[in-house]
């Protein structure tokens, strides 16, 4: 393989990593609180405010229903307003995050819902506030599922970032399409696929390790 190709693949890997990690971090920072809000608003043991839970839940589903490629286009003006440009790797982080936030929020909310009501009551009976119920009870107990959910989100982001090539974001998927598909450069295509497989495998392995650490009784 030529140096040029190696450099191309390395650069694309870096771009993919930047997009996936940045959008992943944003989806965690915004998605998890969103999940906590929906969860605690929908539980009558906690805040019991369906008028908050339902519209939020609806918004999350609506965003998830929009195909990513369409989201990419719709969000062009928003992206330009936030990052100053609608092209490039940094610009792609905006639509990727907007797609990943509701995705992770829903996964996280389902993880929180999986915590036994009995545990919520146990913390309440100790005299715990709603905040303590969430911090000491619900989140730690849901942690393994929250981590697995983040792993899935990161892997989905890796796939979605390929489409961000459409707005010049670069990355591995973009490289594969431009060289492999459009120019029939099999070498690049194979190299990209191998790197992608390794990347996804690595994310999954780290995710599994972290999830196992968070569920110590199985370790």
């Amino acid at each position: 393989m030529s140096r040029v190709i190696i450099n191309l693949v390395l650069q694309a890997t870096e771009q993919t990593l930047i997009m996936v990690l940045a959008a992943g971090a944003i989806s965690l920072l915004v998605g998890l609180p969103l999940a906590v809000i929906v969860f605690s608003a929908s539980r009558k043991e906690l805040y019991g405010s369906p008028w908050i839970a339902r519209p939020l839940s609806l918004l999350i589903d609506a965003l998830r229903a929009v195909p990513f490629i369409i989201l990419l286009v719709i969000l062009l003006p928003v992206t330009r307003w936030i990052v100053g440009t609608s092209l490039g790797t940094t610009a792609a982080i905006v639509p990727l995050s907007i797609a990943a936030i509701p995705y992770y929020a829903r996964i996280a909310e389902i993880a929180l819902r999986g915590v036994d009501t009995g545990l919520i009551e146990a913390v309440q009976v100790m005299g715990g506030s709603r905040w303590m119920v969430i911090c000491y009870g619900v989140i730690p107990e849901a942690l393994p599922s929250l981590i697995s959910g983040l792993t899935v989100t990161l892997i989905t982001l890796t796939g979605a970032s390929a489409m961000a090539g459409a707005i010049g974001a670069g990355g591995l998927g973009d490289l594969a399409i431009r060289y492999g598909y459009q120019r029939f450069n099999t070498q690049v295509m194979v190299a990209v696929v191998i790197v992608l497989i390794a990347l996804v495998g690595l994310i999954q392995a780290i995710g599994n390790f972290a999830a196992r650490r968070a569920a110590p009784q199985h370790g």
Binding site: A122, Q124, M126, G127, E141, A215
Partner: protein
């Protein structure tokens, strides 16, 4: 001194009344058993006592505070004075035994140092010191429940509530957990209210029994009152029968309610306290030359009092004299029927 005073408690779910005008008091140091058929409202009552369910009306006075009308902040404070032990333990799976027991202390604002000392003391009390760094999944059911008890006792509650605390346990663990509760009651003078469907638990353990039936409190008194009463409401009788001697099947099949000459009379007698310790059977034989044969039952402790609950066959007609003797000597005498004799 009454620790808990429940006055006219009412609660309903979606318009269906579940608790109807419940009133009772619990004295300090008492162990009160709460029984009743499934769906009677036992859990709802217990949940109301610790403020998990806000009743529609009525008062729950615990330490001069009405749990039913407290606002969230005061209710949280008041809950620290109540311990709840769950049927399914409800331990935090991702926390060690120590962390589980320490959580109520952390919530109550104890410093890490004081928490550590208190947790050690509590684990010692429930006999789990050597398991302090294990996770719940590494413990047996009985051990998990002892962690649950240690956690419930952490803040030194004035009232301990147990909802079917031994129902998920095997008989041996049940005994260990009940003995532990019994010890705590004796040594700490802790007041305990305990829901169970196992009458045997009540019999061994409870000094007083509350019976709920379809949301109404139908009995509030000693277990012995129930045992020595010939007419109990059917629901109570069904519960009682679980723990009482029953007629062996071969006798049950031939039992008839019609008195027949030369047939044996089948009677149930209950003797309580001092009379339970007399040589009742031989006295009976001596006085009336009637052979009394024990077919089921025997002696046991009921709430710590020696009690005999047994079924006998008598190979003599139940004359007025025998009847009078039996009712003088026993706390309950019931004729169950007649079976063919073996003369």
């Amino acid at each position: 001194m009454s620790v808990l005073n429940v006055v006219d408690l009412q609660h309903s779910f979606a318009g269906t009344p579940v608790l109807k005008d419940i009133s009772f008091q619990v004295q300090k140091g008492e162990i009160v058993g709460l029984i009743g058929p499934s769906g009677a409202g036992k859990s709802t009552l217990l949940r109301a006592l610790c403020g998990l369910e806000k009743p529609d009306s009525g008062k729950i006075i615990l330490q001069n505070q009405d749990i039913a009308s407290l606002h969230e902040r005061e209710l949280r404070k008041a809950r620290q004075g109540i311990g709840l032990v769950f049927q399914h333990f409800n331990l935090l799976e991702t926390r060690t035994v120590t962390q589980n027991v320490a959580l109520p202390l952390k919530i109550a604002g104890w410093s890490a140092q004081k928490r550590q000392a208190r947790v050690a003391e509590l684990l010692d009390l429930v006999g789990l010191s050597e398991h302090h760094s294990k996770y719940p999944a590494q413990l047996s059911g009985g051990q998990k429940q002892r962690v649950g008890i240690a956690r419930a006792l952490a803040n030194d509650p004035s009232l301990l509530l147990c909802d079917e605390a031994t129902s998920a346990l095997d008989p041996q663990s049940t005994t260990t957990v009940l003995d532990l509760l019994s010890d705590i009651n004796r040594t700490l003078g802790l007041t305990i209210i305990l829901i169970t469907h196992e009458m045997e638990v009540i019999r061994r353990f409870a000094q007083r029994v509350l019976v709920l039936e379809q949301g109404t409190l139908v009995h509030d008194g000693g277990m012995l009152d129930l045992l020595t009463r010939s007419h109990n409401p059917p629901a109570i009788q069904a519960l009682l029968n679980e723990t009482r001697p029953t007629l062996p099947p071969q006798l049950q099949d031939t039992l008839t309610q019609e008195p027949r000459t030369d047939w044996n009379v089948v009677i149930r007698v209950v003797l309580v306290g001092a009379s339970a310790q007399t040589a009742f059977l031989s006295e009976l034989t001596k006085h009336f030359s009637a052979q009394a044969v024990l077919v089921a039952g025997g002696a046991s402790l009921c709430a710590g009092i020696p009690t005999v609950d047994m079924i006998l066959t008598l190979n003599a007609p139940l004359t007025d004299k025998i009847s009078r003797y039996l009712s003088e000597q026993t706390q309950l005498m019931e004729v169950l029927g007649y079976v063919p004799g073996h003369h």
